[in-house]
């Protein structure tokens, strides 16, 4: 049962990341449009966040005791606070960036970095830690890595499809950003609890 909940948390992590990308496109479009150049910047920002988050998460997963717990808490807080900033001030921030940066591409990139880079990087730090969590409980490292990234990617797919075809047609983007924040708080709380549990599942 615990293992099932663990994978549910991993799936939700994937949903939060890629669903956020679809919401991000809707935040940007009133200011910069929704053409392919905007999508290129958006996707690149998310991939950069996945990359840096994964590397940072790899380092954190090998820290010892208190340092690891402190790093986990910092990442979780960074994710929650930055998601809250996006939900509360995201539209106003993009508006200000659009005024301050007149060239389109730098404006889009600055907006993507300001709104999406930190939360997605922070969320991504937990994937390697989930691998470490399974490995420490007897799953072979290769298998643990395959399971976590496979399940997380299924979450990514669910996040894209759910957000695009169910949530955006029925809810305001601002409402969805608050839902994202609430789900992230719950999911990260559950994840921190798992990662700090020394007993085997």
């Amino acid at each position: 049962m615990s293992l099932l909940v663990f994978y549910l948390v991993v799936v939700t992590l994937g949903i939060l990341s890629m669903g956020f990308q679809m919401l991000g496109s809707r935040l940007l479009s009133p200011h910069f449009g929704s053409a392919i150049d905007v999508w290129a910047c958006l996707i690149s920002t998310f991939l950069a966040a996945f990359s840096i988050g994964s590397m940072a998460g790899g380092v954190i997963s090998n820290l010892e005791g208190a340092a690891r717990r402190r790093s986990q808490l910092i990442c979780a807080l960074a994710a929650v606070v930055s998601l809250a900033v996006t939900a509360l001030f995201g539209r106003a921030l993009v508006g200000q960036i659009e005024i301050a940066v007149t060239a389109v591409l730098p404006g889009v990139l600055a907006s993507c970095l300001a709104l999406f880079f930190v939360p997605v990087t922070a969320l991504s730090t937990f994937s390697p830690q989930c691998v470490q969590f399974l490995a420490q409980r007897g799953t072979a490292p290769g298998k643990a890595s395959g399971l976590v990234y496979g399940v997380s990617t299924l979450g990514n797919i669910a996040g894209v499809m759910l957000t695009t075809f169910v949530l955006i047609p029925h809810f305001r983007v601002s409402t969805l950003l608050y839902i994202w924040l609430a789900v992230a708080v719950l999911n990260l709380a559950a994840l921190l609890r798992f990662l700090r549990t020394p007993t085997s599942l």
């Binding site: 009133p30 392919i36 601002s174």
Partner: protein, 305 residues
């Protein structure tokens, strides 16, 4: 067997002959924004954009008579004359094949007709295949329409919104906030003109959203095509929903319009606002604009309604 071969041979020969006569050329271009097709048949050149329902006719020009309005709804865009009969400064968001431009510039040679087009390839095809040449009075800005409206401070007499991407309108050009930005760039007696498509869920949301910004909205339904042109003004008086208050359109340009644009027939295209459906429709805002799911276009300017 011989008879069958003869019939097949004749069929192939006649098909080849028909193809040679009908299609001078068909070219396809994939740009970063669109999948475009240019087809020349005789002197007529059509610009089409591929979408999930096939090809949508964006624009057409008859090179032997460039002033002719080939696509029916471009005639209806001139309904703006009833509301602002002296269009000195006109902003057109969406260049297409510049099907509207030639007659307008002939009728109003001193007026500024500023176009905004996102796709550079559309402008290139317009210039190289459709005989359109931007001039000082007909400049084209290559940028997003909404960004242009925000950054350019000109007060326009007409703002025409006719931006489609393969049959769909970008969501950020359909919201209350965007219409407010347009209203802010309209002169006091200016008119906002938008090309809508009836028979879609989006249609009623469109009207509701335009009405949320502009106190007076009049619709014109292009005969048999499913296009509806919305003309909206930001003043309350006189009551422009009453045709008797519409401007008597200048006779000075009647000779240019003759045989190409019948303003009396255009007046008859006026249609009532479908109030019940509009009441039920959802307002489109920057925060809620599921335009793709409301189906922007079910017809494609070519077929019967």
């Amino acid at each position: 067997m011989k008879i069958l071969r003869c019939i097949l041979g004749l069929a192939v020969a006649s098909a080849s002959l028909a193809a040679a006569e009908a299609g001078n050329y068909v070219e396809s271009f994939d740009t970063i924004y669109n999948s475009l097709t240019i087809e020349r048949t005789g002197s007529v050149v059509e610009l089409r954009a591929r979408s999930r329902r096939g090809e949508a006719l964006e624009s057409a020009v008859d090179l032997s008579d460039p002033l002719k309005l080939m696509v029916a709804y471009t005639r209806s865009l001139y309904a703006g004359l009833f509301f602002q009969p002296k269009p000195s400064r006109v902003l057109m968001i969406g260049l297409g094949g510049a099907g509207f431009h030639r007659l307008f510039s002939a009728a109003y040679p001193d007026s500024l007709l500023q176009s905004v087009e996102l796709d550079p390839k559309v402008l290139e095809l317009c210039e190289t295949r459709m005989g359109f040449k931007p001039t000082g009075k007909m400049p084209v800005a290559l940028t997003d329409g909404r960004m242009f409206v925000k950054r350019d401070k000109t007060q326009w007499d007409w703002i025409i919104l006719d931006a489609f991407r393969g049959g769909f309108v970008p969501p950020h050009l359909k919201t209350e906030e965007f219409y407010r930005e347009c209203a802010g760039r309209l002169s006091d007696r200016g008119v906002f003109i938008s090309n809508l498509h009836s028979g879609t869920e989006l249609f009623h949301s469109d009207i509701k959203t335009i009405r949320a910004v502009f106190p007076q909205v009049v619709l014109f339904e292009t005969e048999g095509r499913g296009n509806v042109i919305a003309c909206a003004v930001k003043y309350l008086t006189p009551d422009m929903t009453q045709p008797q208050n519409w401007a008597a359109v200048e006779k000075a340009v009647a000779h240019v319009f003759e045989g190409r644009l019948d303003l009396t027939a255009l007046k008859a295209e006026r249609m009532a606002i479908p109030k019940k459906q509009v009441e039920r429709a959802r307002l489109l805002t920057d925060d809620f604009s599921p335009v793709e799911f409301l189906d922007a276009m079910k017809t494609n300017n070519t077929g019967p309604k």
